[in-house]
Symmetry: C2
Subunit: 232 residues, 2 copies
């Protein structure tokens, strides 16, 4: 499938790399491809410049947000949450159109360090804001509750764990589920929370996730919902 | 131990009943004990009047918030989060003093129905507000992440699951942990997140908890953190 991955950070690279390995035709989108490719030094997080990553992922192309969004039949928003609406505006309504938009972003404000606060929360969510801004698009929120490397390799954890899905369109959710299965997620791992307003639940998991990361001193964790239908 | 349970709702009854069964000397606190005992009809949630509950729990006494707080060497805040600061003000600074205050409340605004929003979130938490209002008290936030009946009977779920603890005082956290062990929690189940500011993490779990309850159609669930130290 032709897929656009908006955002070239850790999440974007991880998703784009996995999609490439699965045989998809992937274009990553960024604000200014020339500037992104001109970077020679690691970024503020110590990540190698994108140019290096791209040499190991020969079939993945890089374009503007608009070029990538025009390319993709399915779009993945892997930009930082605080920049997502701007990135999508640059992608353009006409390119987003009525496509499935898998939104992985979280509205994290890291400007005051760690743990982050949320720029949107409680009575709204970034998933909903994106859906409202692009009413024709089929926004599906998922994968935003765990570390990038676990998104595409859930079996790295020793037990089954859960992933949530929110969105208004059942067909779009089924397309995203099919993608998730190809990443290694199992049907029993996925919890469909309902419409896009349920993204308020998963985005507000991040404050606990961040504190767990601080306590456990690893990003290699996720939650599993333990349910008991009968007492024992 | 002499324990005060502030609040006579489901959480208060569940905690007080469990503490009684463990041999503690429990006084429940409410705003107006006479009015509470005069109720003859089920409340808005269909729960039987407290008078009925108390006939089955003969050693548990009922007093004002101030009487209960004066009685307790350890205090449990089991009031509704939106009423907690008022209840604690009625309990009185002199009665709260430097005692351990186990805070189970969540700042849930249910005035617009379900799922609730939070009246405090993101950059603050109810746990912190209580700690700031009573700086001598040793506030420990715990048990606020799951249903009342699971708080005192964790083995009702078929697998191990986790409980979080937040608070500034290590000695107070150890006292609360001892109480939790007596409820059936195991040391390996408890995750000490750090100081009271980490209550922001657990209180913001509630929005996801509420949506999971809506999806799973049960309160009989909790989360388990699945961690992987080595790939497999």
């Amino acid at each position: 499938m032709k897929i656009a991955v908006l955002g070239t950070g850790t999440v974007g690279q991880t998703i784009a790399g996995k999609l490439e390995s699965l045989g998809h035709d992937v274009m990553m989108g960024t604000r200014d491809p020339k500037a992104t490719l001109a970077r020679e030094k690691p970024d503020g997080f110590g990540r190698p410049p994108l140019k290096e990553w791209m040499t190991g992922h020969g079939s993945v192309r890089l374009g503007t947000y608009a070029e990538a969004a025009a390319h993709g039949e399915l779009l993945v928003n892997a930009t930082h949450g605080v920049a997502s609406l701007e990135a999508l505006a640059a992608a353009g309504k006409e390119n987003i159109n009525d496509k499935v938009l898998l939104d992985i972003s979280n509205p994290l404000d890291l400007s005051k360090g760690f743990p982050p606060t949320l720029t949107i929360s409680n009575t709204d969510s970034l998933g909903e804001q994106i859906q409202r801004a692009y009413p024709k698009a089929k926004v599906v929120k998922s994968l935003n509750t765990l570390s990038a490397f676990l998104m595409v390799a859930p079996s790295l954890l020793p037990e089954a764990h859960n992933l949530f899905i929110s969105g208004n369109d059942e067909g779009a959710k089924n397309k995203v589920k099919a993608l998730l299965y190809s990443f290694g997620w199992k049907e029993a791992d996925l919890i469909d929370l309902g419409d896009i307003t349920t993204a308020r639940g998963t985005e507000q998991w991040l404050p606990l996730w961040a504190r767990l990361m601080g306590t456990l001193k690893t990003e290699r964790f996720n939650l599993r919902i333990v349910q008991g239908s009968v007492p024992h």
